[in-house]
């Protein structure tokens, strides 16, 4: 085995201090295999060494939480079935940003595969996925062609994996900014359900119990994927292509069915998937969590290639693999199930009582490391931070619109706001026949056959807001997710977050991270949405250019079985209300809006203000309206402001509206400011809407009525907008494909 030199240590992204720590844990110098093992376990990707100090600030407990952070996925309660069994929801979000830049199709596909395994490892069958995607502009003069290729690859990768596996992709968001040009963000939010008494954990319990490897054979793919995801991209990144794993959704489907069936036998004591850092991570984490050790011999590991070294086998990130611990004497039952599904399953070792992760190769010890320090005692960095990095002016430029209707057409064709049907129609969003509200809704809604209730999921991020003010941006995000749930009638029960940032070693970036986490903590505490797990993706930088700070929040809610309102106006002659009222707006807080981005093509100032108490009152009122059937449609005002919100309400059934406002705001602000805590509802029962709003102390402003094929908005008698819903919708539905195919700029 080759000598470990300072150069080799540096090539593993291990600092001299970290190396000293390794030596003191081992009581000797590590060999190359051990160094490799430490390097992946202590990488940013696996250890969260830069963020963990701050992640502790997040609320993780709540009345619905069964399992908080630290396991493969978080778990919250769902309800009981007819036989009295309690059911739970397992969910988590994970990123696959770096691989998706290097190889978009496989990067995104394996991103889906990885998070699905996290869910069914817990004994839960995955029933829904959502994606938060961010790319560089499709019309960028330099990077446009590459950005289009990345989007195309990512979408096809997600479709390929999710469709074959058989999990519906029920929604998500796709946004564009120049900062994502070299750093696309691919965040996948997955959710599954299980019976509470059948949850499984990644714990190597029971000394003497056999350890079983199951699933795909181990190959050389993905070696050092976790380390790759913990560094910036440079010109040489293209050479990292072999680091990207290749996904096989059919294999994953077999693994799902086999694992759930093996769990049913009662012979499984613990189970964990092999994701980032592969066999290394699963063995030491399972041992660490149970306070035991694991001893394996690599000669038993099914291998795809010949001549693999222990270093390669331990660090491989080949996909679709699982590590199980069976109850001694019952291992054959487990092996039989995997054979039934045509999968490799081999006993590779056993649980020990000495707390060591001991790896042998043909009987010879090649690595011997105490499991707990390896898994849980990675160095923690309280990295220095300053004010969050931002280079936008605070002062608003002078602006005025000559033609507000033209502005609305500009918004309709904008990449952020245009119809994403071309993307989501490539995803099977209905398989498993639970999808009540799918892509395009404020929140996805799933009917749960087992409990006769419903689950709602919302997913949001806003890099622009967070760039202007990470704390406020994060607070707004959580509030918007909760509002999205309210619009379909659901109440939050838990949350997961994906923190996408640049290089934490830069104090201005670290400042963004700290502020954003604290903002999430404040809002999740207030809205009673504890964070039960998530993912941190740092070093999203290319050539020193960091992505906008982009925390993405996934919120899970529950609700009784109802027919939830959609966003679209359903019929003419219905009363229109703006719950929450017109809201506050000013020039400075217009700087992060879609109007500023798409119409004025600039960024300044601050995100909108939010009053949490007022927000909560609006949400409570809207939730009751949705649940009681008081409203036919409900849609929150967010990106694009009230003007764009009304357009989105008009599109689904091509029902327009006549809106009369009474506000002192100037038209640009009135139509396009993005102040939160506002929801547009249409109703056949105005008295009931007013009664519910009043009871919750939420303003209910009657703004007009639905009707005909035109959207007409006026303020104090002056007409601001008059558009044909069909024409605007055509612009909106055609835009994405035009951007993708021509890459040409579309002007209104």
């Amino acid at each position: 085995m080759s000598e470990v030199t300072p150069e080799i240590v540096a090539a593993h992204s291990i600092t001299p201090d970290e190396y000293q720590r390794i030596v003191s844990i081992l009581g000797r110098e590590p060999n190359l295999t051990e160094l490799g093992i430490f390097s992946v376990m202590w990488s940013e990707h696996c250890s969260y060494k830069s963020s963990r100090v701050h992640l502790k600030k997040l609320p993780t407990r709540g009345r619905y939480v069964v399992q908080g952070p630290g396991e493969n996925a978080g778990i919250v309660t769902l309800g009981h079935d007819a036989e009295g069994h309690e059911w739970v929801i397992a969910f988590k979000i994970e990123s696959h940003n770096h691989p998706s830049f290097i190889e978009p199709f496989q990067g995104a596909a394996t991103g889906v595969g990885g998070i699905l395994r996290d869910i069914f490892t817990m004994g839960a069958r995955p029933i829904a996925v959502m994606d938060a995607l961010r790319f560089g502009p499709l019309d960028d003069p330099d990077a446009g062609a590459r950005n289009r290729r990345i989007l195309d690859g990512v979408v096809h990768g997600i479709a390929h994996y999710g469709n074959c596996f058989g999990v519906p992709t029920v929604g998500g968001e796709t946004m564009f900014e120049p900062s994502y040009s070299g750093n696309p963000l691919v965040n996948v939010f997955a959710l599954g359900i299980a019976r509470r008494d059948k949850i499984f954990y990644g714990r190597a319990c029971g000394v003497g119990n056999p350890v079983i490897y199951a699933g795909a054979k181990t190959g050389r793919d993905g070696i050092h994927g976790a380390t790759m995801a913990s560094g910036e991209f440079t010109e040489e990144s293209k050479q990292k292509r072999p680091n990207v794993q290749v996904g096989d959704p059919f294999m994953e489907k077999l693994l799902l069915e086999a694992c759930l069936e093996a769990m049913e036998t009662g012979a499984v004591a613990g189970i964990q998937d092999m994701g980032a850092a592969g066999l290394t991570c699963s063995t030491c984490e399972m041992g660490s969590r149970a306070g035991t050790g694991i001893e394996i011999d690599l000669m038993h590991v099914p291998q795809r290639e010949t001549g693999m070294t222990p270093y390669e086998i331990m660090l491989s990130e080949s996909q679709e693999r699982m590590l199980l611990v069976a109850h001694q004497g019952r291992e054959q039952e487990v092996l039989d199930v995997f054979r039934k599904w045509g999968l490799d399953a081999r006993i590779v070792g056993h649980v020990t009582g000495d707390g060591m992760m001991r790896v042998k190769n043909h009987g010879e010890v090649v690595a011997e490391i105490p499991a707990r320090p390896l898994a849980d005692e990675a160095p923690l960095y309280n990295r220095p931070y300053t004010k969050p990095l931002r280079e936008a002016p605070m002062e608003a430029p002078a602006f005025a619109s000559a033609d507000l209707t033209a502005d609305l057409f500009t918004l309709a064709a904008a990449q952020d706001l245009c119809d994403k049907r071309w993307i989501w129609e490539q995803y099977d969003f209905m398989v498993r026949t639970n999808t009540v509200l799918g892509p395009g809704a404020d929140a996805a809604v799933l009917r749960i056959k087992e409990t006769g209730t419903m689950i709602a999921m919302a997913l949001d991020g806003n890099g622009r807001y967070c760039y202007l003010d990470p704390r406020q941006g994060a607070r707004l995000l959580v509030a918007e997710c909760a509002r999205n749930l309210a619009c379909v009638g659901a109440e939050p029960v838990g949350a997961t977050n994906n923190l996408n940032f640049g290089n934490p070693e830069r104090p201005g970036i670290m400042g963004q991270i700290v502020e954003a986490i604290e903002g999430i903590a404040e809002a999740c505490t207030f809205f009673e949405a504890p964070i039960t797990g998530g993912n941190v993706s740092l070093y999203n930088e290319t050539l020193g250019e960091a992505v906008f700070p982009t925390p993405v929040i996934g919120l899970v809610g529950t609700m009784p079985l109802i027919e939830p309102p959609g966003i679209g106006f359903r019929a003419s002659g219905r009363a229109l209300y703006l719950i929450g009222g017109i809201g506050e707006a000013g020039e400075t807080r217009m700087g992060g809006t879609q109007y500023a981005k798409q119409v004025l093509r600039t960024l300044w100032g601050l995100p909108p203000e939010i009053d949490f108490e007022a927000e909560k009152r609006v949400q409570a009122a809207v939730r009751e309206m949705a649940r009681s059937g008081a409203v036919e449609s409900a849609h929150d005002v967010s990106d694009g402001g009230l003007g764009w919100c009304l357009a989105e309400c008009a599109f689904p059934h091509e029902v327009g509206a006549r809106v009369e406002l009474d506000s002192s705001l100037r038209p640009e602000l009135l139509l396009f400011h993005e102040g939160p805590s506002r929801v547009v509802v249409s109703t056949a029962n105005p008295a009931l809407v007013e009664e519910i709003a009043a009871r919750h102390g939420a303003p209910a402003l009657r703004i007009g009525e639905t009707g005909a094929g035109e959207l007409v908005v006026s303020n104090r008698g002056a007409e601001l907008l008059r558009v044909s819903v069909r024409e605007l919708k055509q612009r909106w539905s055609a835009a994405l494909e035009q951007w993708l195919h021509a890459g040409q700029e579309i002007h209104a």
């Binding site: 469709n163 074959c164 058989g166 059919f250 077999l254 129609e425 490539q426 099977d428 009540v436």
Partner: protein
Amino acid sequence: MKFGVVVFPGSNCDHDAWHAAGRVAGHQAEFLWHNEDTVRGADCVILPGGFSYGDYLRCGAIAKFSPVMNAVKRHAQEGGLVLGICNGFQILTECGLLPGALIRNRGLNFICKPVRLRVETVNSPFTCAYEPGQETVIPIAHGEGCYVADERTLDELEAEDRVAFRYLDNPNGSLRDIAGILNPGRNVLGMMPHPERAVEPLLGSAGGLGVFHSLARCFAERTR
């Protein structure tokens, strides 16, 4: 009436078919494992959607060699009912129970959406509960759903009234807008749209319920 839902390793609409036939339509329904050469006395066998054996080669190309397909063929030859949905339709064409083939969608992308269909014949056990020419909405979800066959086969299908469903807005390039066809004995139906996804109004459409109602009605008449 008893339904048997075949489970290939990569089937992923098996639970949905079981739910639709069993829970919603109220029939007896059980799963049939792909490695067993029997349909376990099912009156109607459903070949569900999914990716039978991964389908990396060609959809359904490997499934036709599975033991359960021997049993399904025997069942069909004896006049038993077989409903192939999506991947099931692909398998039926691969194993020769239905003519033609399903190739990549015209636009090359996977498409998932509710589509409008016209019921082209009510002279079949799968469609007899619909009105002649009835329009209905049933979702599709496939990447390889473009139905092709030679002209003679297409003419024959039409002449023998064996086109069961046509697309009103052809989503995938299928020749003559064909969405579902019957075998000459009219006891085997293959269709790309998913009737099992359209049996509950809460999920957007109950347009597929007619298939299950038809089967029940026909079965009741057969056994009377």
